[in-house]
């Protein structure tokens, strides 16, 4: 009880930040970003579709792990008309992982990747709004624009390709559930990987 009292007292003096973290079950933060071809996309454009956000940095070993085949097969598996897959790069200009539009397209082709668009978030505003911390970092937004999943791509935090088969595929399970109209379970997991170079 003393704990409670003391904590309440300190609450008086605690300058809480007004930082609003994204929350599953709440509207996903809006964004308006330009893709590798110069076209701009905003979240509102995709109303009625399920949106996947995938934060990436092609040089990050954890991204390399999943682009050894896993990410491409996920993109293929879920690449229907109902799902929009957006790959997001938040590396700031001059920071590691920052690429040009041409280079991004080249990476897409050379890796046989098939995102609907590769978006640039050079200012980091969108990444910070989603509290994206690592690459890869996955999000699922349902047809109504409500955030349904955020976190890691799977359960084993490692850079080893062998672990993919052993891991629980959190993201894939979540997206499958959301497409079936069910809530993701778990809906929030630990993201792992390289830090995003804001």
């Amino acid at each position: 009880m003393k704990l409670k009292l003391a904590l309440s007292l300190s609450a008086l003096f605690f300058a809480s930040s007004l930082f609003a973290a994204p929350q599953v079950g709440q509207a996903a933060p809006a964004f308006n970003l330009t893709d590798s071809k110069g076209k701009s996309h905003s979240l509102a454009d995709f109303a009625g579709k399920t949106v996947v956000l995938e934060w990436t940095n092609h040089d990050c070993p954890f991204v390399v792990k999943h682009y050894s085949g896993n990410m491409q097969s996920l993109q293929k598996q879920f690449g229907t008309d109902d799902v929009v897959w957006l790959t997001v790069i938040s590396s700031a200009p001059g920071k590691q992982g920052h690429v040009t539009g041409a280079k991004a397209d080249e990476l897409t082709i050379s890796r046989n990747a098939m995102p609907d668009a590769v978006l640039f978030d050079e200012t980091g505003v969108t990444g910070k709004a989603y509290d994206a911390k690592t690459t890869p970092h996955m999000y699922v937004i349902d047809k109504k624009g409500v955030l349904q999943y955020m976190g890691g791509i799977d359960s084993i935090a490692s850079a080893k390709v062998d672990d993919i088969a052993k891991a629980t595929p959190y993201f894939s399970d979540a997206l499958t559930a959301v497409l079936a109209g069910n809530p993701a379970n778990p809906a929030v997991t630990k993201p792992y990987g390289c830090s995003i170079k804001y």
Partner: protein, 692 residues
């Protein structure tokens, strides 16, 4: 292929080669930006023994590896042991981590040479002549970029009857223990609520903690500011909760950076006690004992409150003036405590009697009488003047002054205690709301004991001062400084008088306030005349005039027309009334009721930081919330009755009505997002259906 990837593959290739050396070290393994070895602190081991193994990392300058909780990104180093049957390896004994900032993220890890120690235990019946140890280690080394790597290490130690330490590596193990946090016996509990991590750790002395590290991953927002306070024997830690937090662990390790180096302790999870009004009505011994402790703690805190502090500073002054013997001081402290205690009990008795008589009375009610407020303002002003030297009320404030405390010795001490309680009463409401609310629903004797505990807590510092010779010895010798101190202490009194006058003004209006200020001038003149007379510079007639002036000042407090009931209006609040509330609730509107009073400091703070803010106003607009404010600055039976519905005898009280849900009482101390969070929670339970 980028340089980065080349390095990565190079590292993996190099590391997959197993290095095997038959000695107390595995030999160095070179990986990109890091070299590593596995070392034993024994060159020969014996059955039944425990010994240590150190994984020694030397990364390139500015490169780092990660702690058990790596923070926002990164990966903790892990060791997978392959050991002979029966041999067991303990967990890594981590060195104290650093916070490595990569804005906007923060990681926890190690820079420079790093030694990770694990303890191995050999069973007593171990029969082999060799101990073969294999360790597969995974790590991530990062600067701007990250390079994951793994390596296998092997040690073969001879097993003999005489264990022999490896002398060459003694220093390395010494370094390792220097870098490890010191294990302490501190007890700590933590909780995660309202998107905040908070912990309280019993800590008899302030260890000057500068930072903390939680080993639980995804618990705190690593980059958020850490709030560290040491209050009353407890270290309080707070930090924003991590966005990816999902489950509170029953316990985890915590490292504190202190002035004397890092220390390690465990934090246990504590689920918040649920105090629902309904359960308070039945008497439970355990609850009651808890409440006694809470009340005593609250009483102790009261000493620091602005309403009490001025009186206390006067009392302290009398205790340090050194003119009393130790025995006298003890007696005085006892009389003072008796004054405090009995006043609390008397107030409680009055409160309970009034309740029994069906009166709508509440704690702090004496300040609802404007005359009492005005008279108190005068009183504090007079006391201030005496400290300033305008009038000599005696050698010390204690032995002189106004009617009640002017008696020498015991009586003076006793009535100082009484006065302290009278001026403390407005402060008790916010701090002791729970205990008071509880007491008010208990059998009379149990309730009186709660109030007595409150008084005991308040008197405690003086009892300690009187009984602890060491403490008394620490106090400086009397001298001129005391006179200066006395003069300085006048100013808190003047400020308290100003505050009381402000309350008076809010109660009675501007005209009445002006009259009270005239009264204050009369009081000043009276004191000055009185002082003149004391200096033998004025005749007896001055004393008479002084008395007339004082009576005049008091008469001015009977301003015939109290101002029309004015409620503190803010642009987004409506005046509370029972009917208006009923009507809104019937219409299916969400409603927030705020019961407040001008003399309630907590209420004002809450309004400033949590209710009258842009974000709360936005939340009110978003949820179409109606905001009703009830002002209890003056006595209002309707509000008193309303408070009692929620087992409260004082303000603040915040009640949130959501259609289809029982009314929810918000905490008495609000944080900036309390309201928003409560609304989000309620709306997720029961979405609002509007008729449009």
């Amino acid at each position: 292929m980028t340089l980065f990837l080349r390095l990565f593959f190079f590292a993996v290739l190099v590391l997959l080669t197993t290095v095997s050396v038959q000695a107390e070290t595995s030999g160095w393994v070179n990986a990109s930006h890091l070299k590593a070895e596995l070392v034993s602190d024994h060159q020969d081991v014996r059955p039944g023994q425990s010994f240590k193994l150190a994984l020694h990392f030397i990364p390139d300058e500015y490169w780092h590896t990660y702690w058990q909780n790596p923070g926002d990104s990164g990966l903790a180093t892990s060791i997978e042991w392959t050991l002979p049957d029966g041999v067991e390896a303990g967990a890594i004994q981590w060195p104290a981590p650093l916070a490595i900032s990569v804005p906007p993220l923060v990681n926890y890890g190690f820079e420079g040479p790093t030694i990770l120690v694990s303890e191995l235990t050999i069973p007593a019946d171990f029969s082999g002549s060799q101990l073969q140890i294999k360790a597969k280690v995974d790590w991530l080394v990062c600067k701007e970029i990250c390079i994951p790597a793994d390596a296998s290490f092997e040690l073969n130690l001879p097993v003999t009857q005489a264990a022999i330490e490896a002398r060459d590596y003694k220093k390395l193990f010494e370094q390792a223990s220097q870098h490890q946090p010191k294990v302490t016996q501190l007890q700590g509990r933590y909780d995660v609520q309202n998107q905040k991590f908070s912990a309280a750790i019993q800590m008899p002395e302030d260890l000057k903690v500068s930072a903390f590290f939680v080993s639980a991953p995804e618990l705190v927002d690593h980059a958020a500011p850490q709030q560290i306070d040491w209050v009353d024997g407890e270290l309080l830690l707070r930090q924003q909760q991590n966005t990816y937090f999902s489950q509170a662990l029953p316990q985890f390790d915590l490292v504190l950076n202190t002035a004397a180096g890092p220390v390690l302790l465990q934090l246990q999870h504590e689920s918040a006690p649920q105090v629902s009004p309904a359960t308070l009505a039945s008497f439970s011994l355990l609850d009651w004992l808890g409440m006694l402790v809470l009340a005593a703690a609250g009483g102790l805190i009261l000493n620091l409150m602005p309403c009490v502090f001025p009186v206390l500073s006067l009392k302290a002054l009398s205790l340090v003036n050194g003119q009393n013997s130790a025995q006298q001081t003890k007696t005085e402290a006892l009389w003072y405590s008796a004054g405090v205690l009995l006043s609390f009990v008397a107030l409680a008795a009055v409160l309970l009697l009034l309740r029994a008589a069906g009166q709508a009375a509440g704690w702090g009610f004496q300040l609802q009488n404007p005359f009492v407020v005005g008279a108190l303002a005068y009183l504090l002003f007079v006391l201030g003047l005496s400290l300033s030297g305008v009038v000599q009320l005696g050698l010390g404030w204690m032995n002189s002054g106004q009617q009640l405390t002017q008696k020498q010795g015991h009586k003076g001490s006793f009535f100082t205690g009484v006065l302290a309680v009278v001026v403390a009463s407005p402060c008790t409401a916010p701090f002791m709301g729970t205990a008071l609310g509880y007491a008010a629903t208990q059998p009379a004797l149990a309730a009186l004991a709660i109030f007595a505990a409150l008084g005991l807590g308040m008197a405690l510092p003086f009892l300690l001062l009187a009984w602890w010779p060491g403490l008394a010895a620490l106090l400086p010798k009397p001298g001129l400084w005391m006179e200066k101190l006395k003069q300085w202490l006048a100013y808190p009194l003047y400020l308290s008088a100003v505050w009381l006058l402000w309350v008076y003004g809010r109660q009675q209006g501007l005209d009445a306030l002006a009259l009270a200020l005239v009264g204050l001038v009369l009081v000043g003149a009276a004191c000055w005349l009185w002082g003149q007379q004391q200096l033998q510079q004025a005749g007896k007639i001055s004393g008479l005039i002084a008395v007339v002036l004082l009576l005049g000042a008091i008469a001015l407090l009977w301003y015939p027309q109290p101002a029309a009931q004015q409620v503190a209006q803010t642009d987004h609040a409506e005046v509370w009334s029972e009917q208006r509330l009923k009507q809104l609730v019937q219409d299916g509107q969400p409603v927030l009721v705020n019961m407040t009073a001008d003399w309630c400091i907590t209420c004002l703070v809450n309004e400033r930081v949590a209710l009258d803010t842009d974000s709360s106003k936005a939340a009110m607009a978003l949820y179409n919330l109606r905001y009703l404010k009830g002002d209890w600055t003056n006595k209002d039976p309707a509000i008193s009755a309303y408070l009692r519905q929620f087992q409260r005898d004082g303000v603040p009280l915040y009640v949130l009505y959501w259609p289809g849900q029982p009314p929810e009482v918000l905490p008495q101390i609000l944080t900036p997002d309390s309201l928003r969070q409560a609304l989000e929670q309620l709306s997720s339970k029961q979405p609002l259906i509007t008729s449009q």
